[in-house]
């Protein structure tokens, strides 16, 4: 259609003025039409997304809420006793493990990845940057099962040797694998955010006599804060939802992680370990659905909190 318009336009000057006006009017109405059509298309796209999101929430939520007909919410959220074969459905340990695993992952990954982003955007010579960036893009695309396998065959034996533990599985192993997974994501998005900071900010700071470290810490990073926060959000949601890599190194034992090396289980890993072995119409199945629903709520809540924090600091 674009080519047609172009050819009409280029032919137009050859004809007399009347025709030209006619063609212009035609073109105008065509633009109006495509404009309004595209509006409907965009509207449809977002509605389709909302529809799917709604379906997920309604169906997971509906099955999940069946649980509370038999099991009290207090038992589910506060008890640490997950023994489904004896009708104990306490998911408290999984919730706490999920939160602490995510926190530990971010503590390890965020400083390193922001440091790498600063190196890429501010310090490194061009040849190094043009090498690092494609490598990071490649790392984002590696399937999680591959990271999990590396964790199982390389990281665990190493942790065993260093710590003297018999097994090595646990929160630390899972956090290290997850940190490696979210590192490229956080790094690349932060990198873009830092590059987007206008040149004149830096020039002004240098003109005032700042050192390079002062420019980075006091000017560039604060200016790129919003981008870095959204990078952390993306990394965090990946860490919370990651399943396959975690299953392979966390030990999959439904109990509270009392140390970095005690085998435990998080919401995702427990769901994937058990979902294929439960009966459809059982409290056990409902409890697993409730855990999935909870996972949705936790990631919504965390995203909201971080958004809120970012806005507040910007206002101050």
């Amino acid at each position: 259609m674009g080519a047609e318009v172009e050819s009409l336009a280029s032919r137009a000057p050859k004809k007399h003025t009347e025709g030209k006006i006619k063609i212009n009017a035609k073109r105008h109405s065509r633009h109006l039409l495509s404009n309004s059509l595209s509006r409907y298309y965009f509207l449809f796209s977002i509605l389709a997304l909302c529809f799917v999101l709604g379906l997920v929430i309604v169906f997971i939520g509906k099955t999940a809420l069946l649980l509370f007909a038999d099991v009290s919410p207090a038992d589910f959220f506060l008890s640490f006793n997950w023994t489904p074969e004896e009708d104990f459905f306490g998911a408290g340990a999984f919730i706490i493990n999920t939160l602490s695993l995510t926190a530990l992952t971010l503590v390890i990954a965020v400083p390193i990845s922001v440091g790498m982003a600063v190196l890429c955007a501010e310090i490194a010579p061009k040849w190094l940057t043009s090498f690092i960036r494609p490598v990071l893009d490649l790392l984002v695309g590696i399937p999680s099962i591959v990271y999990g396998y590396l964790g199982l065959t390389v990281l665990l034996p190493f942790l065993r040797r260093v710590s003297g533990e018999g097994l090595g599985d646990g929160l630390l192993a899972a956090a290290l694998v997850l940190a490696l997974m979210v590192l490229p994501t956080i790094c690349r998005i932060s990198d873009d955010a830092i590059v987007a900071v206008p040149r004149k900010y830096r020039d002004a700071a240098y003109a005032l006599g700042s050192t390079r470290l002062q420019v980075i810490m006091r000017v560039v990073l604060p200016a790129a804060k919003r981008g870095i926060i959204s990078a952390v959000i993306l990394g965090m949601t990946r860490a919370i939802g990651e399943t396959m890599a975690v299953v392979m190194v966390i030990g999959n034992t439904p109990q509270l992680a009392k140390s970095l090396f005690s085998p435990s289980s998080v919401l995702t890993s427990n769901i994937v370990m058990q979902i294929s072995n439960v009966e459809f119409d059982s409290n056990w199945n409902y409890a697993l659905h409730m855990m999935a629903f909870l996972l949705l709520l936790i990631s919504f809540a965390l995203i909201l909190i971080i958004r809120f924090m970012g806005r507040k600091r910007r206002d101050a």
Binding site: E85, M248, T253, P263, M273
Partner: protein
């Protein structure tokens, strides 16, 4: 482009002609038709797939769809009417620890599945008794020196609750004993493959698995009450850790489903393909 088009048309025509010809021949020879859906245990899946392939050669009008998940999904799918056959590692028509009986279902024995206790290659122990295994898996014995090995902590690797392998291992090797989770040196895995990898890569570990998975130099099977885990010892009755694999059906099977189960139970399949897949024919067992 033109040549390619011509080629495609020729190829399509050829394929069509061949299929029609085959279908014609088969239709003349065979009147059995229908659709069989099989769901359930991954342990029995290789056997099911092989049988389906051979059965469809004999009866091309029968369509068989087979898939594998957890053992319990087999009888469940049959109960809900999703599947005609539910493959299960235990007899789901009676109660087993953790799972209630599925009423109105018939268990059809199709194979014997042997299991083995496995340890990492660095473990010096090569024989364990029922009492020792009960002690190890219930957490009462935590050091290899208590069962005749070196002074090292025992790392217990187990399957998560609901696994058919776990149900059978608990019933046969632990004589109904419990598998108790621990603060340390305890790990659950989700599949036979994960179990093998975990035991192979963790020094001082012990686990259990289908005998067909025991291979390579990183893991070794230990003797049970002094008897080596081999198919011969299962058949002569001296090795006790084994179980029947079952096809669960809603009531007595009929039509194509019945024919299929009879094919799997037939001498030809049991002594041929089934043996090749390292299962044991049901006719070999006396009990």
């Amino acid at each position: 482009m033109k040549v390619f088009k011509k080629f495609t048309v020729t190829a399509l025509t050829a394929v069509l002609a061949v299929t029609t010809a085959f279908a014609g021949v088969a239709a003349a020879a065979d009147t059995l038709k229908g659709k069989i859906t099989i769901n359930g245990s991954t342990a029995l899946l290789p056997l099911t797939l092989q049988a389906a392939k051979e059965f469809q050669k004999l009866h091309p009008k029968v369509k068989i769809a087979a898939s594998g998940k957890g053992s319990v999904t087999g009888p469940q799918a049959v109960k809900k009417g999703i599947a005609d056959i539910g493959a299960c590692d235990w007899d789901a028509s009676i109660d087993v620890p953790g799972f209630k009986a599925f009423d109105g279902q018939v268990a059809n024995k199709v194979a014997v599945i042997p299991f083995a206790t496995i340890v990492n290659k660095n473990v010096g122990v090569d024989n364990l008794t029922t009492e020792q295994l009960q002690g190890i898996f219930s957490g009462k014995i935590t050091n290899w020196k208590d069962v005749g090995g070196a002074n090292a902590d025992i790392v217990v690797i187990t399957r998560s609750f609901g696994s058919g392998t776990r149900v059978n291992y608990q019933a046969k090797a632990l004589a109904g004993g419990d598998i108790v989770k621990k603060e340390k040196n305890y790990k659950e895995t989700g599949s036979s493959g994960d179990m093998k990898t975990a035991v192979a890569t963790t020094p001082n570990s012990i686990g259990y698995i289908d005998l067909v998975y025991v291979s390579g130099s990183d893991i070794k099977a230990v003797k049970f009450n002094g008897v080596e885990a081999t198919t011969d010892n299962v058949i002569n009755g001296s090795y006790k850790i084994w179980a029947y694999g079952y096809y669960m059906t809603k009531g007595q099977p009929t039509g194509a489903t019945k024919e299929f189960i009879e094919y799997v139970q037939s001498k030809k399949f049991q002594n041929g393909s089934l043996k090749k897949l390292k299962f044991i024919p049901i006719s070999a067992m006396k009990g």
